[in-house]
């Protein structure tokens, strides 16, 4: 009785009557890049004899902050020009190395962020915050409007700064910055 109830609960969570996301398992999907430099996905779909081929596939993270290593949505642009989801890869780690490289490459194209490692200086001038920082791409200077909507929370501990061009500068964990950098940062970005 007890057991039955439990399985009923599990069933309720799992079953969306075919309208939930489609999880792509490693044994049913093949990902590769062809000479046209496009990413292809071959998906074995129910009811089809041969796998269905998707062209111009790209990857987007479902949880870029809370779970950047799992749940990758594979998408493509369908013939009528609309972006469409092919399915979601739950555990990329289960995929062959070659596939993972392609996924990583696609993600690297989709996301471009400067990761701030040190803060050299922040000045408030001309109504802008002038940042001089060290990033994963080396030293950068950028300017940002001092407004709440230009520095957004990134998870519990981080911040995303949007500069005047909308480039993204992220600090994953403000409390992991060296102390004097933190003090400087919190002096201006404290909301």
């Amino acid at each position: 009785m007890e057991k039955n109830r439990e399985s009923a609960v599990v069933k309720k969570v799992m079953d969306y009557g075919g309208v939930g996301i489609r999880i792509l398992k490693a044994d049913r999907v093949k990902i590769y890049r062809d000479i046209d430099n496009l990413l292809y996905a071959e998906v074995a779909e129910a009811g089809l004899e041969t796998p269905r081929l998707y062209r111009g596939v790209f990857a987007v993270l479902c949880f870029p902050v809370s779970g950047p290593d799992r749940y990758i949505s594979l998408r493509y642009v369908n013939p009528s020009g609309q972006e469409e989801e092919i399915g979601v890869i739950r555990e990329p780690i289960e995929f062959p190395r070659e596939d993972r490289i392609q996924l990583a490459k696609s993600l690297a194209q989709y996301y471009f962020e400067f990761e701030i490692e040190r803060i050299v200086s922040i000045e408030f001038r001309y109504n802008l915050l002038m940042f001089d920082v060290l990033t994963n791409f080396g030293p950068r200077q950028f300017e940002m409007r001092w407004r709440g909507d230009r520095a957004l929370s990134l998870g519990e501990k981080g911040k995303v700064l949007l500069d005047v061009y909308d480039c993204r500068y992220i600090v994953r964990d403000v409390s992991a910055l060296p102390r004097e950098d933190q003090a400087l940062f919190n002096r201006f970005i404290y909301w």
């Binding site: 046209d36 430099n37 642009v77 480039c167 404290y190």
Partner: protein, 753 residues
């Protein structure tokens, strides 16, 4: 930006947009043995991301027949060349943090170049030209080389808004000047304050001097014992006067401060009302509130500081300094010894200890925000049984706040005694040096006593003077943020030559409208449609297709980026907006009710409406009967956002509100979606009566309500795909037909269950 490109090598006058003004030789070399090698390059633009997402230059070259992207890193492959003949289109494709130019071949998008958003504007211009080249139209060099108007053409700094003066290049009204302009209104009060302060300082200077006479001439030499009473009486008098002045100052200061902050708050609110809807998309309401409340408070603090702190301290130091040197110049020098410590200590406080307050304030405001969120969503919390989690979340916030508070208090607490020690040090030095001088008879005991008295008043103001630069910074930031709002051009203000529209017929025309909330990402793509006065129009389409956006444009909550919207043949941007909106009434899907009575809510748009008008409108909107069941009828108070009414009831009240305005154009944006079918039909019938002689635009979720519409427009992904009346569209068997099919299937399911 580069101008006047020179011919380079085999290439004839290409237009070059990049960090150099000609295409690098290495890039051109890589074109050898490709399809584009002998072509004339028309256009070259430098991007900054390679295919791996590294910062490396990549050049996009557009020839007469092909387009290609060439990475500067030698072993990276070219993208292309793509022959224009095989391409369908080019577009600018935003992703997270970067953007790319895509070329469509056989309807499949290929990425040509990718760049950080810094180059987005440049490539937006490039894409326009690529499309022209593809269509065999000549490229437009002036359009390509046009400078980005969002940035200062001289120094490259971003401008407060397109085409505005640059803050760096134009030295416009300094903050202080403007602050003083505001304070100028209160100049008499300020003058009175100032005079009181001077009087206070003079009185402060008196006691040590009198003490000196008392010690030297009365107690020491005993030459004038009869002065004793007078001196003590003078001391008492001075103290009394001094306290009296304190009282006067304490009465005046808040008046000046609050008068000013009041003034600024009212101006801010006035300004915020004038801002457009688009503005509120951009800013967080929270940060606006903090400006209206906190930043103004900081300014208040500053005024107090200037009038009571800074000026007093400066004058005190000046007066005392002069007095010390007058009493004994040699001894006065010793007074200066601890000054460096005082200054260093103060700076330390501001740089190291004060920032702890920021953390504290932050956690304080986070706690407030959290509390607000939980309490306003309390029903949700209970329904999902999350009290436990919210409690622990709250506890965590409180703990964090406590930690921050402890850090502030302990540091400030440890700092103060250390500073006090240095202040005391000065006195000890004087005791020693001055004491020796007294013993050797160089100065009198009275002089030493006076010295000690003055020193007691000397160091503390010095410390607060050292803090002054920080006060100024804070004040400058706060006032800058306030002026940023006050300086904003009122977006809803009309053009100076805006015309009156006391009356309109209600003809509406959309002419090739392009619009995106983010201009790089259009939502409406070339919509044209025409509505004649008095017509009943339906607009349908999937959610997210841009129906509400279309209405937002008609109401001028936003302005179109391309194309025009005409009412009675006149561009709506030429009308005075408030007048135009009087002829338009809008009922939204989410009814918004204010705190107040039912009657006040219905009469919101026309407070002068008579009782009978209100009753008629309500009857027409089919809300009269349920209102009559309320205990106080039309005077029943509604809670926040109409708490106490059902969704349908709220909606009908908001329809009554719209009807009461007797608009020429009535717009219903999915207004009846949340009403049950029965009341929907009643409202529909009412609308038919009311709708006579008006233009009625209704965006409907339930298509059955549009059967009687004169015309129905079907919008899909920002484009008009079909139009016609119900019968015509059903005959076409297109998008509309399919939508109707789906809905009738659902409806029959509904009936069965």
């Amino acid at each position: 930006m580069n101008n006047a490109p020179e011919p380079a090598g085999p290439v004839e006058t290409p237009i070059v947009l990049g960090s150099v003004d000609r295409i690098p030789g290495l890039i051109l070399q890589r074109l050898q043995d490709t399809a584009i090698q002998d072509e004339e390059i028309l256009l070259a633009a430098e991007a900054d991301l390679d295919e791996l997402g590294h910062i490396e230059p990549v050049w996009l070259l557009a020839g007469t027949k092909h387009v290609v992207a060439v990475p500067a890193v030698p072993d990276r492959p070219l993208r292309g060349p793509y022959a224009y003949a095989v391409t369908n289109d080019f577009d600018l494709h935003p992703s997270i943090g970067s953007t790319s130019v895509r070329v469509f071949v056989e309807k499949t998008p290929f990425e040509l170049v990718r760049f950080t958003n810094e180059f987005r504007e440049r490539f937006q211009r490039v894409v326009v030209q690529l499309k022209r080249i593809r269509n065999n139209e000549p490229i437009q060099p002036e359009a390509l080389l046009k400078l980005n108007e969002d940035f200062c053409p001289k120094c490259g700094l971003i401008l407060p808004r397109s085409g505005a003066p640059c803050r760096r290049c134009v030295k416009h009204g300094a903050v202080f000047q403007r602050m003083f302009a505001i304070l100028w209104h209160y100049r008499w009060l300020m003058l009175a304050l100032f005079l009181c302060m001077i009087a206070g300082i003079v009185l402060d200077m008196l006691p040590p001097y009198l003490t000196r006479i008392l010690v030297d001439n009365v107690l020491g030499s005993q030459s004038h014992p009869e002065w004793l009473l007078w001196l003590v009486a003078s001391l008492a008098g001075a103290a009394l006067l001094r306290r009296g002045i304190d009282v006067i100052i304490s009465q005046l200061t808040p008046r000046v401060g609050t008068a000013m902050t009041n003034d600024i708050r009212k101006r801010l609110f006035q300004k915020l009302q004038e801002m457009s809807v688009a503005y509120y998309d951009r800013v967080q309401v929270g940060s606006l509130m903090s400006r209206v409340i906190n930043d103004v408070e900081v300014m208040h603090g500053f005024v107090t500081q200037v009038t009571q702190g800074f000026l007093v301290n400066l004058l005190l130091i000046l007066f005392i300094g002069v007095m010390l040197f007058y009493l004994n110049a040699r001894l006065a020098f010793f007074v200066l010894i601890p000054i460096p410590f005082v200054v260093i200590g103060t700076l330390f406080f501001w740089n190291r200890i004060y920032p702890n307050y920021y953390k504290y304030w932050e956690s304080n405001s986070k706690l407030g925000a959290m509390l607000n969120g939980v309490l306003s969503g309390i029903r949700l919390v209970k329904v999902f049984g999350q009290e436990q989690r919210e409690t622990s979340r709250f506890n965590r916030s409180v703990d964090y706040l406590r930690e921050a508070r402890i850090r502030v208090d302990t540091r400030v607490g440890a700092f103060s005694p250390v500073m006090a020690y240095f202040f005391g040090l000065g006195g000890l030095i004087i005791w020693f040096v001055g004491g020796r001088d007294v013993l050797s008879g160089v100065i009198t005991l009275g002089t030493l006593m006076a010295f000690l008295g003055y020193i007691g008043m000397f160091y503390a103001p010095l410390g607060s003077l050292a803090m002054f630069s920080n006060w100024v910074t804070q004040f400058a930031t706060a006032s800058q943020r306030i002026f940023e709002i006050l300086d904003m051009p009122s977006e809803t203000l009309d053009a100076p030559d805006a015309i009156d529209c006391p009356d309109i017929r209600g003809d509406i025309e959309f002419k090739d409208i392009w619009f995106g909330y983010d201009p790089y990402n259009p939502i409406l793509k070339g919509i044209s449609l025409k509505i004649q006065a008095g017509e009943k129009i339906g607009i349908v389409g999937r959610s997210g297709s841009g129906k509400t956006t279309l209405i937002n444009l008609l109401c001028r909550f936003y302005d179109v980026q391309r194309g025009r919207i005409l009412i009675d043949g006149e561009d709506i941007r030429h009308f005075k907006q408030t007048q135009l909106l009087q002829h338009l009434s809008l009922v939204l899907q989410e009814p918004f009710l204010f705190r107040g009575s039912v009657r006040e809510n219905i009469a919101y748009g026309r407070p002068e409406a008579t009782f009978e008008e209100i009753l008629n409108a309500s009857k027409a909107a089919n809300c009269h009967d349920f209102i009559m069941k309320l205990s106080e009828g039309y005077d029943t108070p509604l809670g926040e956002r109409g708490a106490g009414l059902s969704g349908g009831e709220k909606q009908r009240i908001s329809i009554a509100r719209a009807l009461l305005c007797n608009p020429r154009i009535l717009i219903l944006d999915e207004a009846t979606s949340s009403v049950d079918t029965e009341s929907e039909q009643e409202i529909q019938r009412a609308l038919e009566v009311i709708g006579r002689g008006r233009t009625l635009i209704s965006i409907a979720h339930r298509l059955s309500t549009l059967k009687t519409a004169d015309r129905i427009y079907v919008i899909d992904r920002g484009q008009l795909v079909e139009s016609g009346n119900h019968a015509e569209l059903m005959g076409k068997q297109g998008t509309y037909y399919r939508l109707v099919q789906i809905q009738s299937t659902l409806a029959s399911l509904d009936l069965k269950s």
